[in-house]
Symmetry: C2
Subunit: 609 residues, 2 copies
C-alpha cells in the first residue's frame, strides 16, 4: 500500500533545496487517502502535508517550519462551495497536539467582539478573530483624538494582545460571505488582493458593527466620517491644514471664512463631542499659537434634524448643551435637514412652519463631518439576503439569547444586530383561549397569572415587565369588575410591547452583550445543550448605566438612578474616570492619564502630521 | 488733490455689507499713490488698504478684522517680477505699531533653521519661517519610530511654538524661487493649489536640507525613504501589514519569505539603525504576539557599497556592528552596488575581485529602504542655476561666515550647503611674490610668517591649521637649509588643503551652524556692518562632539576625546541621554522618557494604523 519514493524526494531536494538529508529519509506515501509518512534526521512528518511535500513541487516545506507547524497550516486543503483553501490549522498550532476544541469564529474587533474575548473562559474554544483592523478602538473617546487632546495610539489596543489570554488566532481580513451548508466563513485578506479563503466554524459570532447612514444625501463623498482611527487622523490633519492655509496671504477673507467653517451634520453624541473638542481647541490652543484674528473667522455649526441636539438624553441636558454652545459661539441649527452637499457648501432645509414652504439655506464649509446614524455593513446585508427570515430587514435580528434568527450556531451582537421583541398583541387570542378555562371570555386574576407565566416562559424578554402582577391587574381592569376583558387585555399587551423598545446602538450595549455571550458560550461548553444553557443563563438583559457626553471642559450625563449630571468641572473628571476605568488594558489607561496631563501642561500638539 | 467719495462708500456698503456707518464717514482718496484716509465710528483706516476698500469691490474688509489687523495683511499689494501678492504685513501684526525691524526670512524647519530660531535675540529681527512642515523633526531618533519604540508625535515640536519666543511668523509653503533684484522669495502654499506669493526679505537664510540621492538607480519608486515623519508612518504601517499578510493561510511560503524580507540599501547610520530597530522588534515583540514560526522566515539585509557598514566611524566600531549583526542574523552584504530595483527584487552587483566579471545577485523584498546619501532639493538647484558662481555645483557653497557665494544678505547652512575651502595651492605664486621681498625665490622664516598672516586674514578657515609656525617651518624645510623653496612651500599648502575637509551632513553640524548664524545676526543687528561683525564673531568653527549609532539595545559612538564607545547596556543609556538632552522642549523630553518606559513595560504597539 505504501510505496517507497526516495528517488522523488532526492529530486525535490535537489531542485528545491529542502533541507533534509536524503540518505536518512524513508518516505512512505499513500496516494488514495493523500497521506504519507516521512522520517528524516530527528524529524517525523506525517499526514496530508507530507503527502504534498513528496508529490507536489509547489507545496514543499522547509525543514525549520515543518518541525513545528502542521503542514495544513502552510498548505491548507481546499473545499466548500467555491473550492477555496480552508483554514483548518494555524501557524500558531503545534503538530504535537491536535486542537480538538470547538471552533469559535468572531467577526469584528469592536466592543462586542472584544467583550466576548475578555470574558470567555480559557481552553474551552479554539477561537479565531477575523477583522479588517488588528486593533480594538475605544470609540467613545474618538472625538478627543481629532484635535489632539488624546493621541490616536492611546485609544487602541492590539487584538492579538487581547486574544492572547485565550490562545485566540487573528486573521486580518474582510468577512464576505458564509457557506452555510459547510459552516465556512469566506474571508478576503485585507491587503492580499484577490485571494479568498474559508475559515471553518462550529459557532460564529457576528460583531461587524455598522457603517454611516447616508439618508440618500447627494454629495456625501465630500464629507468626513468619525468611525475609525484613520478618520480621526484625517480630520486632525484637515483641521490643521485648513488653519495653516487660512494664515497664508493669498487666502482671501471669503476663503478664510470658508476654510474655518466646521460643519457637523447630526446632533448626536459624536457630532456634539466633536464640536465641543473643536471649540476647546480653538479657545485654548489656536488663539495662543495662531494669529488671534482667526478666532473671529472661525465658526462651528451643528445641523440637527430634531428639535434639540442630544435628543436621546433628558431635555434638561439638551437645554444645558444648547445654552453652553450658545455661549461658546457654536451655532446650533435645529429642525434642519441636509438636502445635499456641494463641494464647498452644505445645503439644508429648515422644517416648514405652519405649512409654509421649507426654507433652503446654504452654509459654506472647510470641513464637514457626517454623523447621522448607522446603517448595515455589506457583510450584514449579504447575510440578511441569504436567510429567508431576515430578508429585507434593516438590521440583523436575534432572539433573546443573541442567536441569529434563522441560522443555527450563529450569534450576532452590537450595532449590527437587534434583539427582536415578541409582538405580544399578535398572540392575544391564543393567550386567552389557553388560559380562559371556563370559556366566558373574561380573565380572572388566577387566569391572568397563568397567562403571565406563559408569556414569561415563551418570551423571556417580557419578564422585567411582568412584576407587581396584582397592581397591574387592577390598573388595567378599568371598569373594576374584577375581570380583564379582551379590550383591557389588549391594552395591557400593547403597553408591554411599547415598553420593550430596541436597545440603542452604543458601546455599552455591545459590551454587555459580549459579556453575556461569553457567559453563554462558557456554559454551553459544559452543558453541550442549547435548551439547557438557555435555562441556566437566561436571556440577555441590558442594564442601562447611563449615557455621557463631553461638552468642552465639562460633561453631561444621564444615569441609571434617574440622576442627571449637568456641567461643572467635576463632571469633566467624572466623565474621564468612567472612560478611564472602562479601558481594556493598563497600557491604554496610562496613556489616557499621560495625554490628559500633557494637554493640561503644554496644550495640544498643533503640528500637521 | 483728495476727492470726496462718500457716495461710492455708500455704494460699497450697501452691496457688500461693510459694517461702518456712512453718515459719519469722511473718506479721502488719492488715486495717484493709491492711498486713502477713512474715518468711521472710532475707526481710522489709512493707506493702501483703505484705498482698495473704497475703490475695489473685491477688497472689502469687515469691521472686526479691520480694527486689529493692517489691511495689507489681508489685501497684500502686488509687485516683483511676477506681480504676485507681497507679504509685507502679517495677520499677527497690529495696526497700532508698524514693525520696522529688518526682515529675516528662514526657509526650512529642520535642525539649522530651528537652531537659529532658538538662539536669535528677541526684538532684533522681524522673523518669518517658510516651510512645508509646520514642525521640527528630531531626525536622529526617526528610525525608532518605524517600529513603535517611540511614537511619532514624541519626535516633533511645532515650529510655531518654537518661533513664539521671538515673535516669528510662520507660513506653510514651499519656497520656489528668489526675485533677486527686489529681494523677494517666491512661495507656493502647500495646499492652496496654484497660488504663489512673495515674501520680502532683508536677510535670507536657506536651510532647506536635502533629499535622497538616487544614484540614477532604476525602480527607485519601489523603495521607501526615511526622512520625514510621513515616511516613518508609512514604514511602520508597511511592516505590520506585511507581517499580518504573512499570517494569512493563502500566503505561500515563498510569498511569506518575500513579505518578511526587509532590505536596506545603504550602510550609513540611518540604514543601520533601522535594521537594528527591526531586529529588536522581531526579537522582542513579533515572537511574542505573532506565530513563532514567522521568526524563521524573517530576514533583514543591508546592502553596502563600501567594505564596511558605518564607514564614517572608526573601524573598531564598524567591526563591532558587523559582528553584532552577524549574531542577530542581520545579513550584511558589503562591496555591493544596487543595480536596479524590481517590483519584488533588489538586483545588486558584487564588486569584482581580481578583475573578474562582477557577480549579479537578486534579493526578494517585502520592504526596501533607500538611504544612500543626499542630493540637492529643487529649490537649492534652482538657486545654483541663478547665481553664476554657483552654477553646476552639487551643493550650495558659502564662505566661512555662512554667506552664500555670489549673493548678498543670503546665508545657507545645514545639509543644503557646504563651506567652500580655499584652494591655497592655487594662490602659491601670489603668496610667494608678495612675501619674497628680496626676490630670491626662497622663503625665509620672517617671510613665511608674513605669508601665514596673509592666509589667515584672507582665508579665516586656515587659522586652525596655522599653529606652531616654527615647528611647521622646520617640518617642511626638508633639506634643512633654513629656507622654504617652491616645492617645499607647495607641499605645505597641499597638506593644509587636504586637512580642511568638508563638514559632514549631520544634525550636529547644522545645529552648530544655526547657533553660529544666530550669534552673527545678533551682532550684525548692533554693528550694522558685515566686515565689523565678521571681525567680532570670526568664521564658523565646527567642534565635533562625536557620532552615535544605535545597534539594537546597545549603541556605538566616536567621541571628540578620541574615545570610542562600543556596546554594552550602558551605551544604550548614554545614547538615550545624549538625545534626550538635545531635545528642543520639555514636552518632547517627557514624551521620550514615557515612550521608552512604556516600551520596556508593555512592549511596542503592534496595531496597524
Amino acid at each position: 500500500m505504501f510505496s517507497r519514493l526516495s528517488k522523488r524526494v532526492k529530486n525535490v531536494q535537489d531542485q528545491q533545496k529542502v533541507f533534509f538529508t536524503t540518505n536518512r529519509t524513508t518516505p512512505w506515501i499513500n496516494p488514495k487517502v493523500k497521506k504519507a509518512v516521512l522520517l528524516s534526521t530527528g524529524v517525523v512528518c506525517t499526514g496530508t502535508g507530507a503527502y504534498y511535500l513528496l508529490t507536489d513541487r509547489e507545496r514543499r516545506i522547509p525543514l525549520g517550519v515543518r518541525e513545528k507547524v502542521p503542514s495544513l497550516a502552510i498548505y491548507p486543503d481546499r473545499g466548500g462551495v467555491k473550492e477555496l483553501p480552508i483554514t483548518t490549522h494555524y501557524l500558531e498550532d503545534s503538530i504535537d497536539k491536535e486542537n480538538t476544541k470547538p471552533r469559535l469564529v468572531i467577526i469584528g474587533s469592536g466592543w462586542g467582539a472584544v467583550s466576548v474575548l475578555k470574558n470567555l473562559d480559557k481552553d474551552k474554544y479554539n477561537v479565531t478573530i477575523v477583522s479588517e483592523n488588528n486593533y480594538f478602538l475605544f470609540t467613545p473617546l474618538l472625538p478627543s483624538a481629532t484635535v489632539g487632546t488624546l493621541e490616536l495610539r492611546s485609544l487602541i489596543e492590539s487584538v492579538r494582545k487581547i486574544a492572547h489570554r485565550i490562545g485566540g488566532h487573528f486573521l486580518e481580513g474582510k468577512a464576505l460571505d458564509i457557506d452555510l451548508d459547510n459552516k465556512l466563513l469566506e474571508v478576503e485578506g485585507c491587503h492580499s488582493g484577490e485571494k479568498h479563503f474559508y475559515v471553518p466554524y462550529d459557532k460564529l459570532i457576528v460583531a461587524v458593527g455598522a457603517t454611516s447612514m447616508t439618508h440618500g444625501v447627494q454629495g456625501i463623498e465630500n464629507t468626513m466620517r468619525l468611525k475609525t482611527i484613520r478618520d480621526a487622523m484625517d480630520i486632525r490633519r484637515k483641521v490643521t491644514e485648513n488653519v495653516e492655509k487660512a494664515c497664508l496671504p493669498t487666502t482671501s477673507p471669503e476663503e478664510r471664512k470658508q476654510l474655518l467653517s466646521f460643519v457637523v451634520c447630526g446632533g448626536g453624541p459624536t457630532g456634539v463631542e466633536f464640536a465641543a473638542e473643536m471649540s476647546d481647541w480653538i479657545n485654548e490652543d489656536l488663539v495662543e499659537w495662531f494669529p488671534k484674528v482667526l478666532r473671529e473667522e472661525i465658526s462651528i455649526h451643528i445641523i440637527q434634524s430634531r428639535d434639540h441636539i442630544l435628543n436621546t438624553f433628558d431635555s434638561k441636558i439638551s437645554d444645558y448643551a444648547e445654552k453652553k454652545f450658545d455661549r461658546e459661539r457654536v451655532n446650533v441649527i435645529t429642525n434642519a435637514r441636509v438636502d445635499h452637499i456641494e463641494k464647498d457648501n452644505v445645503v439644508y432645509k429648515l422644517k416648514s412652519v405652519n405649512g409654509s414652504e421649507p426654507v433652503t439655506k446654504s452654509l459654506p464649509y472647510g470641513l464637514c463631518l457626517w454623523s447621522t446614524g448607522i446603517a448595515m455593513t455589506s457583510f450584514a446585508k449579504n447575510l440578511t439576503d441569504k436567510i429567508p427570515i431576515q430578508a429585507h430587514k434593516r438590521v440583523l435580528t436575534t432572539d433573546g439569547y443573541l442567536q441569529l434568527h434563522g441560522l443555527d450556531d450563529v450569534y450576532a451582537l452590537g450595532d449590527c444586530a437587534t434583539i427582536e421583541n415578541p409582538k405580544l398583541i399578535e398572540h392575544i387570542t391564543e393567550f386567552i383561549q389557553n388560559a380562559d378555562t371556563d370559556g366566558d371570555g373574561k380573565i380572572k386574576y388566577k387566569e391572568f397569572l397563568a397567562i403571565c407565566e406563559t408569556m414569561r416562559s415563551r418570551f423571556p424578554l417580557t419578564e422585567q415587565h411582568l412584576t407587581n402582577l396584582k397592581t397591574m391587574f387592577n390598573k388595567y381592569d378599568t371598569d373594576h369588575d374584577g375581570f380583564l376583558d379582551v379590550q383591557e387585555m389588549s391594552l395591557m399587551l400593547k403597553d408591554i410591547d411599547k415598553n420593550m423598545t430596541n436597545l440603542p446602538a452604543t458601546a455599552q450595549v455591545a459590551s454587555q452583550q459580549g459579556q453575556y455571550l461569553a457567559k453563554y458560550l462558557n456554559t454551553l461548553s459544559s452543558t453541550e445543550n442549547d435548551a439547557c444553557t438557555q435555562k441556566m443563563v437566561g436571556p440577555f438583559r441590558y442594564s442601562h448605566l447611563g449615557t455621557l457626553a463631553y461638552l468642552g471642559n465639562t460633561a453631561v450625563g444621564d444615569f441609571k438612578w434617574g440622576y442627571q449630571m449637568v456641567g461643572g468641572l467635576w463632571a469633566l473628571y467624572l466623565w474621564r474616570s468612567v472612560y478611564w476605568s472602562e479601558q481594556v488594558s493598563m497600557r491604554t489607561r496610562l496613556n489616557l492619564s499621560i495625554d490628559w496631563t500633557k494637554c493640561a501642561i503644554w496644550g495640544r500638539d498643533i503640528a500637521t502630521v
